[in-house]
């Protein structure tokens, strides 16, 4: 191939395939830039940047909808965008919709609570959209560089968001801890990435999987003590450190309660829902990317992958007598490319999957148990919800473990397990967004975030207290609410997976649900049964906040009773995950 054809292919690929499918992210970028430019002619003095941000999110959501509407997510063809940097499949589409929709509702929330006011709003929305952009990249990452970039793009603005209230000691402490721990975890993860990329000679996830498959890992495992294996395990564990930090999984959870307590409740909602969802998506991408052979991409990209040995640039080398290593390497990489050589069975990757399942299962079990136990003694509602977030991350990681466990033998069941995760995340939005929204609204009227100060709330603010109680019950996972359906889906995936590890996980999850009953209901009891303090005046969160709260909380009940629609979307979203 000459350089001319290379450039032509690249141009047509970028212009005709990648950019149109990347439109939602481009709109977010445009919104960020427009918000910045609008500030220069003091445009923002008569137009609130809130509307710009909201419009940007809405337009991005519109363009994130696939051609056939939301119901047609399953019809999306799997493709690789930007020469393999991003994977575009139904899961990408789903998470993009999810994240952008969340950003939309979140912008309204911060406006209602007054966190992002007219003067600072522009900065807040910029950071929020920037983080959302990073999360979209995390959810579609297909290359180790995009994995790292996505994490950085999502994290760095989040550090600032955690410390968005300047001059408040706890906020600045939360931001500092978050930034320092986050940067450290990212550094360790990068080191792992460098080892993995180095030993496989590639950074493209599907290519790495084929390389790993070609390494004949089962034999290496049998040989016991192979150094290649040791490097792989080290790399895997280091990458897991970065992921675990984003997932707030034990033992890299310690930032979570502190940051949640120090940051405003609205930002907690963002961190606990959007950040977690993106991290889950990334975990699925990495686990499936390394543990399975990627399904074939749609024809438009494959057509571009013309076998090429010598590029114009290498010609002098190719013409000289000594065969250059790089040209040979290029040819070799070509034949090993998944598009041409699909017969490599994913059985060769069984050891990788076993490793991932083992790590995930241990992490999930500890995370879940620790989160629930630590939530007990908390007196601050945000801290309690932080530990609850950790515990829920544990349940969700279980779903991923089950999916990877099933990926080799029963792809359909593995897809169902991921669908359970997706459903759980959907349920989680309603529960956690509304929980933190209530906390924020109550903070504005009560001036407190202590559980003790919520006593007897049912008498002064019946609607709020009822809604909050409902959300807590849903978080436990008690029937008519959506939390139950989500938890049931994950338990079902664990049962379907079978095997001693999965059954053990199931047992742990069951026990944990029972434990969680106590601390959630403790808050509910405080609100509904305990007498209110004598000196409390009227508690009113206002009309608009009440409406907002109901809009985000009521679906928790509705979809608990009729979960069909979300289940359907979840099933569609995971359709192209495996071959």
């Amino acid at each position: 191939m000459t350089l001319q054809t290379l450039v032509n292919n690249l141009t047509s690929d970028t212009m005709n395939v990648s950019l149109p499918l990347f439109r939602p992210e481009l709109i977010i970028c445009a919104t960020i830039v427009i918000m910045l430019i609008a500030r220069i002619p003091r445009f923002t003095s008569w137009l609130d940047s809130f509307w710009l941000a909201l419009l940007g999110a809405a337009v991005a959501f519109y363009y994130a909808i696939p051609a056939g509407g939301i119901g047609a997510i399953g019809d999306v063809q799997r493709q690789e965008l930007f020469t393999g940097m991003l994977a575009y499949d139904s899961l990408t589409v789903f998470f993009r919709l999810f994240l952008v929709a969340f950003a939309f509702w979140f912008i309204i929330l911060v406006r209602l609570t007054g966190l992002a006011d007219r003067q600072d709003g522009q900065d807040f929305y910029t950071l929020l959209l920037g983080a959302t952009l990073g999360m979209c990249i995390m959810a579609s990452a297909n290359h180790l560089m995009t994995v790292f970039l996505g994490i950085e793009m999502a994290s760095v603005p989040s550090y600032v968001l955690a410390g968005i209230i300047k001059g408040r000691r706890r906020a600045s402490e939360a931001a500092l801890k978050y930034a320092v721990y986050g940067a450290g975890a990212a550094g360790v993860m990068l080191y792992g990435i460098s080892l993995l990329a180095g030993i496989t000679g590639s950074a493209h996830l599907p290519t790495i999987a084929t390389k790993l498959a070609a390494m004949d890992l089962p034999a290496l495992v049998a040989a016991n003590g192979s150094s290649t294996l040791m490097v792989l395990v080290l790399a895997g564990l280091m990458i897991m450190v970065g992921l675990a930090f984003k997932l707030s999984a034990v033992p890299f959870h310690f930032w979570c309660p502190d940051v949640f307590e120090g940051a405003p409740a609205e930002v907690d909602a963002f961190l606990s829902v959007a950040s977690k969802a993106a991290a889950m998506a990334l975990l699925v991408r990495v686990a499936f990317g390394l543990g399975t052979i990627a399904p074939p991409t749609a024809p438009p990209i494959a057509a571009h992958k013309i076998p090429a040995v010598a590029v114009a640039y290498q010609q002098p080398a190719a013409t000289t007598a000594e065969a250059p290593a790089s040209a040979a390497v290029a040819a070799q990489a070509n034949t090993a490319s998944p598009n041409i050589n699909t017969q490599i069975s994913s059985a060769a990757l069984a050891p990788v999957r076993r490793f991932i399942v083992l790590v995930l299962a241990i992490v999930a079990a500890i995370t879940c148990t620790f989160g629930n136990l630590a939530a007990y003694g908390q007196t601050n509602i945000k801290r309690m919800l932080a530990y609850s977030t950790i515990a829920h991350a544990g349940y969700m990681i279980m779903a991923v473990a089950a999916a990877v466990y099933l990926a080799g033998s029963r792809p359909a069941d593995a897809r169902d397990a991921v669908a359970a995760l997706v459903f759980y995340l959907c349920a989680y939005v309603f529960m956690n967004l509304s929980a933190f929204a209530v906390v924020a609204f109550l903070r504005n009227t009560l001036g407190s975030e202590e559980i003790a100060d919520y006593a007897g709330l049912i008498r002064s603010a019946p609607v709020t207290a009822t809604a909050f109680t409902g959300i807590l019950v849903s978080l436990i996972g008690i029937p008519p609410l959506v939390g139950f359906v989500g938890k049931f889906a994950i338990f079902k995936a664990l049962v379907v997976a079978g095997g001693p590890i999965m059954i053990a996980l199931l047992a742990i999850a069951g026990i944990n649900t029972a434990i969680s009953l106590v601390y959630y209901l403790n808050v509910a009891k405080k609100m509904c049964i305990d007498p209110p303090p004598a000196n409390r005046g009227t508690v009113s969160i206002g009309v608009m906040p009440a409406i907002y709260m109901l809009i985000v909380a009521v679906p928790a009940l509705v979809y608990g009773i009729i979960p069909g629609r979300i289940l359907e979307i979840a099933t569609h979203a995971t359709q192209q995950l495996l071959m």
Partner: protein, 412 residues
């Protein structure tokens, strides 16, 4: 040069060592002699601007030995160190500055052609020089911090803020000639401007003309010269970062300053002013090129070296002229100049130059068509089958990894 030594049959390592020593000697001499000259020049220039004569007594009519006398005085001065200073950092700071400024000369070519006069022929010389010159700030910061004096600390803080800010527009300006030449190799950039002065990049198009002045402003700021010399603002901070220094250490800061002035001036003349090519191509009229033979080329290069050094001295003189003419800016004005003027202007001019190069790749005079060397053209060469394509074609961008450039690899 190492090749020459190898060709006369001595050990390769000795050959490289000898080549390196010769180059080091030349560069150090240039910088040291240069600063002697420049200090004298500065006094003369300032004297003339202030309507007085400047030094006249020491060393005959022009007082040209004055600096040497001052140097001797500095050598005999007591080496003071404030109590409470961080001894290690205090002592090492002047050397950091001096080394950074001197290292930049490693990669500056003094003449081009097939056998360029350059100690270290780097593929990415432009950015190497900017990067290394940027390190000079560490000396200043360390000096300011370790002196245990608030004046020094203020000076150092100002310096840090200023240098970090000005590196941005400076880089943007340096990118334009890189874009026009299609290479980051200074030898290539210089040789693209061969011929008459119409081929100099400053006259390539209106945008490059503007950006040269932006470059000169930013370069002045990045070497801490007035009106941007906030780090040593003597009317406010006593003497800024070097308040507590005396004797030889102090003179190292001075040499570093003059060394980096010369370095940015030389860089400016290579990037924009034709480098070693004079306004009229005298050398090629006389046949002093490598086409006619090795020694002819060397003679031409010596001429070129004289040429570029004259350009560099002119640049330094202009900086002195500016220093004694303009009042010093305030720190906020310095930062405003950078962020609100230099950066936007540089960005717009960069876009303009890009557009111009796209539209009229032969330059404003059309005289560059024979020498135009655009990456675009080279990369989009017509599709020729791999085997049929001549080997030289693609290697045109001189590959020069440091291993060979440092003269340490590949024992041929």
């Amino acid at each position: 040069m190492a090749d020459f030594f190898i060709s006369i049959q001595i050990w390769p390592w000795l050959a490289y060592l000898a080549a390196a020593l010769i180059q080091i000697t030349l560069i150090v001499t240039l910088v040291a002699a240069g600063s002697l000259l420049f200090i004298w020049l500065e006094r003369k220039v300032s004297g003339r601007i202030q309507d007085r004569l400047g030094p006249t007594r020491v060393g005959g009519k022009f007082g040209w030995l004055q600096t040497l006398a001052d140097g001797l005085k500095l050598l005999t001065k007591e080496d003071l160190m404030p109590e409470g200073a961080d001894e290690f950092l205090f002592k090492i700071a002047p050397y950091v500055s001096f080394c950074a400024s001197l290292s930049a000369f490693m990669a500056i070519p003094f003449a081009g052609g097939e056998h360029p006069f350059v100690a270290l022929h780097l593929n990415v010389a432009v950015f190497f020089i900017l990067a290394v010159l940027g390190l000079e700030v560490f000396g200043v910061i360390l000096a300011g911090y370790s002196s245990a004096s608030k004046w020094s600390l203020f000076g150092a803080m100002r310096e840090a803020a200023q240098v970090v800010s000005y590196e941005v527009p400076l880089g943007m300006c340096a990118v334009v000639p890189v874009l026009l030449a299609g290479s980051m190799d200074l030898v290539v950039i210089g040789d693209r401007q061969a011929g008459s002065f119409l081929n100099w990049y400053i006259f390539h198009d209106p945008f490059t003309f503007v950006i040269f002045w932006v470059y000169f402003t930013c370069a002045t700021a990045s070497v801490n010269r007035a009106p941007f010399d906030l780090a040593e603002a003597e009317s406010e901070l006593v003497a800024g970062f070097h308040t507590e220094y005396s004797g030889l250490r102090w003179s190292f800061f001075f040499m570093a300053e003059y060394g980096s002035m010369l370095a940015v001036s030389l860089l400016a003349s290579i990037l924009f002013l034709g480098g070693w090519h004079g306004p009229i191509p005298v050398a090629s009229f006389l046949g002093l090129t490598f086409d006619h033979g090795f020694w002819y080329g060397v003679a031409g290069n010596v001429l070129g070296t004289a040429n570029i050094i004259v350009k560099g001295i002119i640049g330094v003189t202009v900086m002195m002229w500016v220093r004694w003419t303009f009042p010093r800016l305030r720190i906020d004005q310095v930062i405003t100049t950078c962020l609100k003027y230099c950066v936007p202007i540089a960005a717009v001019m960069f876009l303009g130059a890009t557009f111009w190069q796209y539209k009229w790749p032969n330059g404003i005079t059309g005289g560059q068509s024979a020498r135009t060397y655009s990456v675009r053209e080279q990369w989009s060469a017509p599709a020729v089958p791999a085997a049929a394509k001549p080997a030289e074609k693609a290697v045109k961008i001189e590959p020069q990894p440091l291993t060979t450039a440092m003269g340490i690899a590949r024992t041929e």
